[in-house]
């Protein structure tokens, strides 16, 4: 009894002790995240004039509205496509013998570790009017004239999907690996056809990974810069590009900050939704 009591440290004390150890990190975060963010927020409502003019401007102007639409559309499509492509890959990683899956993992990681800009330029080369893809398609007679793959959303989506794939594969893999194969066997022997095993057992049990990976990709895609900048055109501008243009070229800090804040707000809202969904979905 006594020893148990001795171990029960008051929560406050624990908090205080933990806070002391973590204070450098907190300070760092405060300096590099909270302070600039606050000043950005301040700027977004003060820059040319005090008020929500920047936000109004952003949300009402058709050009900016188009950028927002582009951003969400690309992010949504990229998330869906990476999920569809990544799920089978993650599943293979789980069920293949370790020797094979290790190789697969290495290939995925290798592509992740290759410099982002280099990879995007590689796509540029492939996507050109006279690039490998167009020439191949023409060679096999699928098309007569080169199709434009650069300067439109198709190129941006393909390029981003490729870059995001690992980010969806890893959370999916870990949530699939946590499922006991016996649960799928029991579903099968109970009479579930393969597609029923997938939709009624595998999919619900891997929902965690789908949400985690999907959210990660969606949020990353929302704020993605390099790929849309290199592979996209002016008509396919996304939010991050808009911010860059506003701040760098037009020195319009107020509008840029407001755009950044819309992005942040959406991200936070999505995260809240995800956390809440997890809390509800948790089997407790």
């Amino acid at each position: 009894m006594e020893s148990a009591k001795a171990f029960r440290v008051p929560r406050r004390a624990l908090w205080r002790a933990g806070a002391r150890e973590a204070s450098p990190a907190f300070l760092f975060l405060f300096l590099v995240f909270v302070v600039p963010l606050s000043s950005l927020l301040l700027r977004s409502v003060t820059d040319p004039v005090l008020g929500f003019g920047n936000y109004e401007h952003l949300l009402s102007d058709l050009t900016y509205g188009r950028v927002l639409l582009n951003t969400f559309m690309v992010a949504t499509v990229v998330t869906i496509v990476t999920l569809l492509l990544g799920y089978p890959v993650a599943w293979l990683l789980v069920i293949l013998p370790t020797r094979v899956s290790r190789w697969m993992l290495a290939i995925i990681l290798l592509s992740m570790w290759t410099n982002l800009v280099a990879r995007t330029y590689a796509w540029l080369v492939l996507f050109q009017r006279t690039g490998v893809i167009n020439r191949m398609l023409m060679e096999i007679g699928l098309i007569d004239t080169p199709i434009p793959l650069i300067g439109n959303l198709a190129g941006v989506t393909i390029g981003m999907t490729y870059i995001m794939l690992p980010f969806i594969v890893f959370p999916l893999q870990s949530s699939l690996a946590a499922i006991d194969p016996a649960i799928m066997q029991v579903a099968a022997i109970s009479g579930a056809r393969p597609y029923q095993v997938f939709f009624r057992v595998l999919l619900p049990l891997s929902l965690n990974g789908i949400c985690a990976g999907g959210l990660m990709v969606f949020v990353m895609a929302l704020g993605y810069y390099i790929t849309p900048a290199l592979l996209g055109g002016t008509s396919t501008m996304m939010l991050a590009e808009l911010i860059a243009v506003q701040v760098q070229s037009l020195l319009n800090w107020g509008l840029g900050s407001a755009a950044a804040f819309i992005l942040l707000a959406v991200t936070l809202a999505l995260y809240a939704l995800y956390a809440r969904g997890l809390g509800l979905g948790r089997i407790r």
């Binding site: 099968a188 022997i189 009479g191 056809r193 089997i283």
Partner: protein, 365 residues
Amino acid sequence: MSGRAPCVVSLRNLVKRFGATTAVDNVSLDVGEGEFLTFLGSSGSGKTTTLFIVAGFEDPTSGDVLVDGVSILDVPPHLRNIGMVFQRYTLFPHLSVFENVAFPLSVRRKPKAEIEAAVTDVLRLVRLETYADRRPNQLSGGQQQRVALARALVYRPRFLLMDEPLAALDKRLREEIQGEIRRIHQETGVTVLYVTHDQEEALRLSDRIAVFSHGRIEQIGTGSDLYNAPRSAFVGGFIGNSNFISCTVAEGGNDRCAIRMPSGQICAIRGSSPMATGQLVSLMIRPERIGLSTTASQAGPDCAIKVRICEATFLGESVSYKVTTEWGQSLAIREITGKSQDVPLNSGVDAYARWHSADTHIFAT
């Protein structure tokens, strides 16, 4: 067995190899209607693999599985109409108890009312009707396995496979659920193929037991067959307690032979198979078939050896002795209290261990 009754499941020369290891080695058996047949064997003896072949999760290297006389090897698991309970907890964690049990019917697209009635019935059968709305992680291990059993029974499968369903439970709970399984087997009359490595569980539940060793069936028979007439030293040692004494045949014969004990003493034994002179054999005697007395010459038991008592433990209904023979081997003896005339012998005392030659099992080594 059930005489001429048709076999529900027949395994025909089943072989399964994983690379160099032979997990299942030429297993053949027939399971009759309503029979409770148990695979008993130590870890790695191929029980699960055999069961998985029947379920369709593994393909045999060779051999066949017949259900009601028809091969099911080409039938995928979901069409085999088999119920299965696993060793691990395999309830669907995202579904309630009711939804878990309803799963097999719901994937068969049964009408809602029918599902509801069937699930309620089977939950009553496993006595968990009040738990229908719980989640699996709100149940104890024993309850989870009972729900799993209900889920395996709800669609009235042709037969039931159970792979060590109680292995993860503690002893008391295990015995309780063994009782439940017995009752459910009697109430439903379902044919069961059961796997365990616990001989007590096998004896308590089964009509017949197949003793597995290294992928082979060593012997198959009722519990008392296996106990009273083990066909090999392995079965004799696996079922119940036993003493083994390595001896040589002093004089062979077709039905009777003389055995030379390690002490040089000769015992006349009735052998089950012809023994050749000079052959090495191993004698097996059950602890409860050996009596202890302080004098050698008494009517009754015809085999007697000199022993020294090492340890005497009073266990209420019986006294358990550990004795040492002249050649230094230690034997276990169990005497029912009240049957023996003398007071329990103390350790350190010399005595005679005596048994009937008919109670001796002889195995070639």
